[in-house]
Symmetry: none
Subunit: 120 residues, 2 copies
DNA sequence: GGAATGCTCAACCATATGGTTTACAATAGA
DNA sequence: TCTATTGTAAACCATATGGTTGAGCATTCC
């Protein structure tokens, strides 16, 4: 839980450490896009954009489906979930104040549900 | 909300894209550590480790307190929270009900690529 | 004062990264 | 069949990165 396969997280975080690639992911959130569609917003050669797509693909953030000469890309969100899981470990450092509140609320929930819903 | 100051996220994700630095953050989660304490677990010169600390510091993930010749570092979790905020945008892609929807999308993919590539 | 400690800085090196251009392969369309 | 489109691959370039060593600055300790 603590380590999360280092090489894997290296690739994911590295892929995210570039605004061009983050923009591409953002567009992919709207749905499948071809490589040239992904490249279109950027002042960059198609070959350059294609390299970015490859970085995303190698990090497992994008899946490619080849149909004829078109390469359609789609978001592979599971890998983002794993990055978030890594970050989640640190959540307690910025939600500390909420923790006490939450503990309190949970204690209340517990007390309230003890009579009604024993399973929780 | 969508863009999150690109250069800032560049620095944060880049800082996280290295297992040495992630380990350092993990140790800092236990509490304040000096630079040489942070360096100790790694087969690396102190100067090398010091560079990693600087990367973390520049990304705003670590705050340094100088006391005499000692440099004490502590976790600055707020910046991690911002990285997580960026990731949260994509949460819907892994937390939605996958079963029926995903099956549907994959069936569409299948049908689509069969139609586009009749030659096989 | 003198020596050891903690740390940074500067110079250097090998490799990675982000971009380009050119060439090419495959597919689609006239 | 000829041509345009989509995309990758290769070669190249400038800069960034991750590491080293050695020098040096404060600080602490004897």
């Amino acid at each position: 839980m603590v380590e999360h396969s280092p090489a894997f997280l290296d690739a994911v975080f590295h892929a995210l450490a570039d605004s061009t690639r983050r923009s591409m992911l953002h567009r992919l959130a709207q749905g499948e896009q071809s490589v040239s569609e992904l490249a279109e917003p950027f002042a960059m050669s198609l070959a350059g954009a294609s390299k970015h797509v490859k970085v995303l693909e190698k990090a497992g953030l994008v899946r490619r489906r080849i149909a004829g000469r078109m390469h359609y890309c789609r978001l592979e969100a599971a890998r983002l979930a794993e990055a978030q899981a890594w970050l989640r470990y640190y959540e307690r450092f910025w939600t500390r104040r909420l923790d006490t509140l939450e503990a309190l609320l949970e204690a209340e929930d517990q007390a309230a549900s003890e009579g009604e819903n024993p399973k929780g």
